[in-house]
Symmetry: C2
Subunit: 212 residues, 2 copies
């Protein structure tokens, strides 16, 4: 009775191919400019097959966005998780987290997700809950949680962990947006390393164990 589609035994699951293709096409053209025909072609499938799996362009968009958001969030959380085992020196651990977060952020799919969210926020307000509420804000919370624990252990000096986490993100995102010109320019690996190091430098000056 649940609307769950029976596993398509025998044939490969085209649903995933369709959602992947949909995200690529939406990322390339935006929601309104993308046409289902092209998504079908990109997935190597006929148009009625698309409608067989997902019953409207809107659904197609929502599901593609949700999938992309879930994968981006998982990667971000994995990066933050590095702080579970900080080691004896905090700086390299923070730098590694920073570096991994930058990798997430400059990722092509992730940028596209961000662009599409901004673009369609007015038309699909509920995307905010899916992409932001279950994505970005969870990552910030996880980071704040890690920072709070480090503060409790006396290894950082943080009055407001949530704000510290937001600032940590800002120290990464601001400069990388600038260097990549909103993601339209490839940023060399070495520059990302520098960005991460500089962000951690500033962060530790403010929140390091010897901070004001």
């Amino acid at each position: 009775m649940s609307g769950v589609r029976a596993a398509p035994r025998g044939r490969i699951d085209k649903r995933q191919a369709i959602l992947d293709a949909a995200f690529r096409v939406f990322a390339r053209q935006g929601y309104a400019n993308a046409c289902v025909q092209e998504i079908a072609a990109e997935a190597g499938v006929a148009k009625p097959t698309v409608y067989n799996h997902l019953d409207s362009k809107e659904r197609l968009f929502r599901e593609a966005m949700a999938a992309a958001a879930a994968s981006a969030t998982a990667r971000n959380l994995a990066a933050v998780d590095r702080l579970r085992a900080p080691g004896d020196d905090l700086r390299p651990a923070l730098q590694e987290v920073a570096r991994r977060l930058l990798d997430c952020y400059v990722d092509e799919r992730s940028r596209a997700l961000w662009r599409l969210l901004n673009a369609e926020l007015a038309a699909f307000p509920d995307l905010l809950d899916v992409v932001w509420g279950e994505g970005t804000s969870r990552v910030t919370e996880a980071l704040a949680d890690r920072l709070a624990r480090l503060a409790l252990a006396g290894r950082l000096t943080i009055a407001d962990p949530a704000r510290a986490a937001e600032q940590f993100s800002g120290l990464l995102m601001g400069p990388v947006d600038s260097r990549s010109r909103l993601g339209t320019r490839q940023v060399p690996e070495v520059e990302l390393d520098e960005l991460a190091a500089a962000a951690v430098e500033t962060f530790l000056a403010a929140f390091g164990p010897a901070a004001a």
Copy 2:
């Protein structure tokens, strides 16, 4: 022979009304979903009149974006200019700049400009030069320039002013994006004050006169 339209003496200039209306409608609906009919209605004008002033929807969009970008940039630059007369204590000066930049950033038109830029970047790559190149990046440069002078005067300790400026922006934009949930939520004045103060706190810890 120059395509310059003679000043419409006697009648009010409808061109400006059309561009204003266009920006409002584009901001509300996005480029693809906005229709020229509606822009005309919003400007209190007939559709052929729109085409009499601006010969295509594309032009309409470009000019509306350019105008919005110019006004946003001017306001940002004015905020940064506050650092020309820093006074004897740097902290309140920086806080005032931070606070004004936050005001620019949470401004409705400014957010819309940003959203539209992100949204249509693929379709209108040249907007990057207009909005980013002559907007955001100029503001960052101006800020970097001010910071560099303060460093020369021994009032800050900054090795790379460009990066310091990017980080200053990041310390503001990151938290405010978070607090406003991408601009979908009104941030109370007092919270903006706190955000500005916290950003300056962190900034001065890293780049204050007594910094590492």
